[in-house]
Amino acid sequence: MPIQYYIYLCLVLFSIGIIGALTRRNVIIVFMCIELMFNAVNLLLVAFSKMHLAAASVSDKASTVGSDGQLFVFFIMVVAAAEVSVGLAIIVMLFRNTHSVDINFLNRLKN
């Protein structure tokens, strides 16, 4: 599969995530769009790791050259899990204080 197809797919998913983060005001939806952007980047990392493996396995059949990319994806998932637990705790605290999930309520942080 040509690598450009994967790049286009991940760009479209990432742009959908950006548009969602810019156009919605519900904090939870914005957070979900950030997760969508994470996943687009993860898919691209795996595709690039297999691209490097395809280039290296021409000369060496037992090559393991792309393993680092897949491990980075693993670490990104780990960090995303920690980030979601803290972020949802912040959202629950925001909802308890303002009784709303409107992101514009966070404007008051600047004063």
């Binding site: 599969m1 690598i3 450009q4 197809y5 790049i7 286009y8 797919l9 760009l11 479209v12 998913l13 742009s15 959908i16 995530g17 950006i18 548009i19 969602g20 156009t23 919605r24 005001r25 519900n26 939870i28 939806i29 979900m32 769009c33 997760e35 969508l36 996943n39 993860n42 898919l43 795996v46 595709a47 297999k50 691209m51 493996l53 395809a54 396995s57 393991t64 792309g66 393993s67 680092d68 897949q70 491990l71 693993f74 670490f75 998932m77 780990v78 960090v79 995303a80 899990a81 920690a82 979601v84 637990s85 803290v86 949802l88 705790a89 959202i91 629950v92 308890r96 999930v101 409107d102």
Partner: protein
């Protein structure tokens, strides 16, 4: 068209369609469920790329744990269409235009990249995505980041408990 191509285009169309449905659903619960569909499509892409370990981890961690956490929070807050805050029309248009500009710039960049024209991503082959190889690399070369991750999880757990506590 080979089977791999048919599967690729089907999974891509499913991922993009459900990602769009995440945005345009009014009810947050439907958004969460469509996002789970997106994650399953991306896991299908991982299987297509023979990254089996990441496919399983993606289903267990993302579609299983994280999205259930989202679903709990959405149901806890009892949200529905009526009290859903909406941005103004002009803000929505500006967001879509700026996201479209981002997409356009990067698509033209990739189209002009000469290096990428001959590269292919290896599907249905290559053993680096299996847990045997990934475990060996993880516990040989990446032991220190692995241990630091445990400290990160401990701090995230402490932070979530402290912030979730009623004071």
């Amino acid at each position: 068209m080979s089977t791999t191509e048919i599967l690729f285009f089907f999974l891509s169309a499913l991922a993009i369609f459900s990602a769009i449905m995440v945005l345009i659903s009014k009810n947050p619960i439907y958004s969460v469920l469509w996002l789970v569909v997106t994650f399953f499509a991306i896991s299908g892409h991982y299987i297509l790329l023979n990254a089996q370990f990441l496919a399983i981890v993606n289903i267990i961690v993302y579609a299983g744990a994280i999205m259930v956490l989202f679903l709990f929070v959405v149901m806890l807050m009892n949200l529905n269409q009526q009290n859903e805050p909406q941005k103004g029309l002009w803000m929505k248009v500006a967001g879509v235009v700026s996201g479209g500009c981002f997409l356009m710039v990067f698509v033209s960049l990739v189209r002009q990249a000469v290096d990428l024209r001959t590269k292919v991503a290896m599907t249905t082959g290559g053993d680096i995505g299996l847990i045997k190889n990934l475990g060996r690399v993880l516990f040989n070369d990446y032991v220190v980041p692995f241990e630091i991750t445990s400290v990160l999880f401990l701090s995230a757990m402490v932070g979530a408990i402290v912030m979730g506590k009623k004071d």
